[in-house]
């Protein structure tokens, strides 16, 4: 079965501290992994794609096929990072490239 697990509903860190939002997946084949972010009163927006291997707003995520994980990391959290973060999976095995989302992690960065 295809599934995305985000074990933490809420993660609170202090400004300047490192952040790691966990994402594990279950998928048959080669998945594409994404992180989406939703700031307060805004729409879901793409943060990272694993195939891009880029860093956006200081965030990075590495696909670990052995551990089936795609954790999101940032070395120094900022208050403006406070938002809801969703990990999503897609790929040809899903048939239509639909996304399978995790339940999301709310990140609160405290001053």
């Amino acid at each position: 079965a295809q599934r995305v697990t985000q074990p933490e509903k809420l993660l609170s860190v202090f400004k300047g501290a490192p952040v790691e939002l966990k994402c594990n997946y279950s998928y048959s084949g080669s998945p594409e992994l994404f992180w989406y972010v939703q700031y307060s009163r805004q729409r879901l927006q793409l943060l990272l794609r694993h195939i891009s291997r880029e860093s956006i707003k200081g965030f990075t995520a590495d696909l670990n096929k052995g551990e089936t994980s795609f954790h999101l990391k940032k070395p120094f959290a900022q208050e403006e990072d406070s938002a809801m973060y969703y990990c999503a999976l897609s790929g040809v095995a899903s048939g239509t490239y639909k996304y399978i989302f995790g339940t999301g992690t709310r990140l609160k960065v405290l001053a």
Binding site: V4, Q6, E32, F34, Y36, R43, L44, Q45, L46, R49, I51, Y86, A88, S90, G91, V92, G95, T96, Y97, K98, Y99, I100, F101, G102, T103, G104
Partner: protein, 117 residues
Amino acid sequence: GAGVSQSPRYKVAKRGQDVALRCDPISGHVSLFWYQQALGQGPEFLTYFQNEAQLDKSGLPSDRFFAERPEGSVSTLKIQRTQQEDSAVYLCASSLAPGLAGGSGQFFGPGTRLTVL
């Protein structure tokens, strides 16, 4: 337009009423998806269009849910005889190409929050 738009943004319906939710995708985007997001959950797939063809409707929860995209652009999600369990945010997303390789992922609209009393 600058992005995916949805209307109405909020809809309150009495149980048993029919509702219609509209999605305007980004111009030129071939693929269009509908998702349902219940409170405290991640979005869940409902249905997928490639141009005007509905290629996947495996996520529609019952035959009360119907979606169309007759001209390959605007899409409408219709829910007949609404029930309280239909209360959720309904998200529309579009993407440029059917596959993801070389694309830029799905672009989401702001959603329609449906409340069924």
